[in-house]
Subunit: 104 residues, 2 copies
DNA sequence: ACCCTATTTGGCGATTTGACCAAATAGGCA
DNA sequence: TGCCTATTTGGTCAAATCGCCAAATAGGGT
């Protein structure tokens, strides 16, 4: 793997890592339905608000979500719905394993 | 997030984490082209063979790749090409960010 | 200006991850 | 059987991740 290729895969991994957490996947899923502010997400998820804030900043930093301040709150939404294809990919993997199991 | 939903997202995250590493993404990419044994992948990538073996076991454990012993070697291949849609997802995210930048 | 709510930031301890080395294991083949 | 190559496993260490708490910051509204 030459250094150019290495950089490419590290960049892909950077985005991929940002999604690789149950809470962050859940946030992405909820933000697909509608936008939410930090406090609302905190109530939906039930962990400390500082934890949610950090998850959001990881997603934002990876360019997966964007924020917008309105009134007293910071609202988050998906930067691009394309991330949702991630879910079908993950579900496909899980399903293709179930299939494998059944065959045996 | 009720406990059923929590389990669901943890399961998705389990697969997602397995892919969230530059070397493992690279392995997936190479295994899409053809199957390889551990030693060959080690030479392609250039880290310790035990490191590659562990990466492979993570991918195998997540049901992303499968192995097959033939002769002296263990060959690995994709369990299902569906994981490749992950790459387009990641690239889409990166591109949608570039677009955003250009607009500004 | 002051209070109050929302959010972010810094720091801490616990856990996980990733890379290497060395040693164990597996199996083919002379 | 004994050797040799390929692979896996266990141990160690450094670095990254995660969740909480406490404190800092931001900004609206009275």
């Amino acid at each position: 793997m030459d250094s150019l290729e290495k950089r490419k895969y590290e960049e892909l991994a950077r985005i991929s890592k940002a999604m690789a957490h149950a809470t962050r996947l859940y946030i992405i899923h909820k933000l697909d339905e509608q936008e939410y502010c930090v406090k609302e997400l905190t109530e939906l998820i039930g962990v400390d608000i500082s934890t949610i804030s950090k998850h959001l900043s990881i997603l934002k930093n990876a360019g997966i979500i964007i924020d917008e301040k309105r009134g007293n709150c910071v609202y988050y939404k998906l930067q691009c719905r394309c991330v949702l294809s991630m879910f079908s990919c993950l579900i496909n993997v899980i399903d293709s394993n179930k299939d494998k199991m059944n065959v045996l």
